[in-house]
């Protein structure tokens, strides 16, 4: 799948309290969560961002709490992909489970804010204005989960198989 989108740059250690502050965690509605996405760093981010835009981060993106509200808030804004140098592990699992694509690549210093980049999600090829970069391949196990349509669909299928056996 090829994605084209404008880049929003964030730095190192973007924590989940930045992605979605805890005061909004009683909400589960993606629309409400999206409205407050990145609020501590960029108030009004939800109004500036467009469907298909891409977040680019540095080291340890998504560190902090286990809140799944974080990938939900990003996806709610129509952002299909986050590219970062490294991801915190709980956020990494959560994003895949919620259908937000992640690629590990060090492009933060290669791209300009607002620049349009083209990304082939399956191959991990990222075309920036200055350079073409290959992202670290998605682990085969994660790819299998994605092919199943995420963890819940995978679970649903397993439960249906169990029922058939009974």
């Amino acid at each position: 799948m090829i994605l084209k989108g404008r880049v929003w740059k964030f730095g190192d250690n973007i924590d989940t309290d930045i992605i979605i502050p805890a005061q909004y965690l009683a909400h589960t509605d993606p629309k409400v969560l999206g409205e407050h996405c990145m609020e501590p760093l960029r108030p009004g981010f939800n109004k500036e961002v467009r469907q298909g835009d891409i977040i680019v981060g540095g080291l340890n993106f998504g560190c902090g709490s286990s809140r799944e509200h974080a990938p939900i808030a990003i996806s709610a804004l129509g952002i299909p992909l986050v590219i970062a140098k490294t991801f915190a592990r709980i956020f990494y699992r959560n994003a895949f489970n919620k259908g937000l694509a992640l690629l590990e690549a060090d492009i933060i210093d290669l791209v300009d804010e607002g620049e349009e980049i083209e990304v082939d999600i399956s191959s991990g090829t990222i075309k920036c204005n200055k350079k073409v970069v290959e992202a670290k391949p998605i682990p085969p196990f994660m790819e299998e989960l994605i092919n199943h349509g995420g963890l819940v669909k995978y679970l649903k299928k397993k439960l249906e198989e169990q029922n058939e056996r009974i």
Binding site: S65, I90, L159
Partner: protein, 420 residues
């Protein structure tokens, strides 16, 4: 080749003799946890998956500790939903009201986690249970749904990093100071995806409460879990509490580690993590005059007896500085009662402290002590990210209970020696 404790526990839960770092495994789990913030999403996914039951109603635990006593109508609705779900699926370990404590203090105290367990929780500080020699780690709500239904979950076996600690502890210094020192040393991603194993004579000398504080903050270095070997103190803690039989695992002498750090604790003084990362660590003495508006003594990191005892020792016969709010949050009802019995509440009230019911409350900026724009707090909690305790332009300094109590008296960040 030998295995580490973490590898041995994971192998035992995968019906394998041997596992190695990087391997993807499908492991059996002994306990699944969610709280009032994360359980509602897990329940939504449970329904979407069309699940009809949980794998074992005795092994699913809900603790309604974050926004409780219910801070608003939405939070009350979330708790109601979890309560109804628990009733419908026979989940007896749903803690709320007067039984509720902060999850990571409550579960070990109630004997729900025992050595050798694999525990997953929809809360990043689930790594706390490594203190009793269990493998435990935080995940998101969807992974928790899978675990709740299947009683299994996939893991990538982590590499292990060993912290061998020796030497003698200085007065007032606790596990909190050691873990802040380590995070300051390796950074907030220094143990990314890895198991942090703590060992050595200085660890043996530490209380269980201090070990919980250390394991609790493994996640602040990016760690997957923190883990300790079971010793006499662990066994004394488990005795009379453990709800299930336990298994003790020890790392082999020829186990392989990604890194080994030798740490002489003799040189470690009282530490403070300055805004806005837990790795921004300094000695208390280095700070100069940092005026504060609030002190929080509590949380899953430092709301246990050892912390309340240190705070009471320092606050006894003293007064909290004018214009400073000092909020004391005993982590569980048992700790609350014990502190009351030992006369700590008298000390705290005489000093002008506020005593809160057990709740995560202000730690994550939920309620019970939110900071206004420009305000500054010293907290015994675990995160000092931007806006963590309230307004985006407020600040949190992390410390142990002794520094927090001394700071409350002085109205600025202070060393206990300044007030004792």
């Amino acid at each position: 080749m030998g295995m580490t404790i973490t590898e041995k526990i994971l192998a035992a839960h995968t019906e394998k003799d041997f596992v190695e770092p990087g391997e993807i495994i499908d492991a059996k789990i002994d306990l699944v946890l969610a709280n009032d913030i994360t359980a509602p999403l897990s329940i939504e996914e449970f329904e979407k998956a069309g699940a009809k039951k949980v794998f074992d109603p005795e092994k699913v635990v809900f603790v309604l500790d974050h926004f409780t006593p219910n801070k608003d109508v939405i939070s009350a609705g979330n708790c109601k939903r979890i309560r109804e779900f628990s009733k419908a699926y026979g989940i007896s370990h749903c803690y709320e009201g007067g039984e509720c404590g902060i999850e990571h203090a409550l579960l070990p105290e109630q004997g729900l986690v025992v050595p050798g367990d694999v525990v997953i929780g929809a809360d990043s500080h689930t790594c706390t249970y490594g203190a009793v020699g269990a493998f435990s780690t935080g995940m998101g709500s969807t992974d928790i749904t899978y675990g709740m239904v299947m009683g299994r979950i996939w893991f990538k076996v982590p590499e292990s990093i060993k912290f061998n600690c020796f030497g003698n502890w200085q007065k007032w210094v606790t596990g909190k100071d050691l873990i802040l020192h380590i995070i300051g040393m390796i950074g907030v991603d220094g143990a990314l995806y890895a198991a942090m194993e703590f060992s050595g004579e200085a660890i043996t000398a530490l209380s269980m409460d201090s070990r919980f504080a250390i394991a609790n903050m493994a996640i602040e270095a990016g760690g997957k879990n923190g883990i300790f070997e079971v010793d006499e103190k662990t066994l004394a803690f488990i005795a009379g509490r453990g709800k299930r039989p336990h298994t003790i695992y020890r790392s082999d002498k020829d186990a392989s580690y990604k890194e080994v750090h030798e740490i002489d604790v003799t040189g470690i003084g009282l530490k403070v993590a300055c805004p806005s990362l837990p790795s921004n660590v300094k000695d208390v003495g280095e700070l100069g005059n940092v005026a504060i508006d609030q002190v929080v003594i509590g949380s899953c990191t430092n709301g246990r007896m050892e912390d309340l005892e240190a705070a009471a020792q320092i606050l006894k016969g003293k007064r909290v500085a004018k214009d400073v709010r000092c909020i004391v949050i005993p982590a569980t009802p048992t700790i609350y009662r014990e502190a009351l019995k030992r006369g700590f509440f008298e000390v705290f009230l005489d000093a002008g402290c506020i005593i809160s019911p057990p709740t995560c409350g202000p730690c994550l900026g939920g309620h019970m002590g939110i900071l206004a724009k420009g305000e500054r707090a010293v907290a015994t909690t675990n995160r000092n990210f931007i806006g963590r305790m309230g307004h985006t332009e407020s600040e949190v300094y992390l410390s142990g209970a002794a520094v927090a109590a001394a700071s409350a008296i002085k109205g600025r960040i202070a060393h206990p020696d300044e007030v004792m």
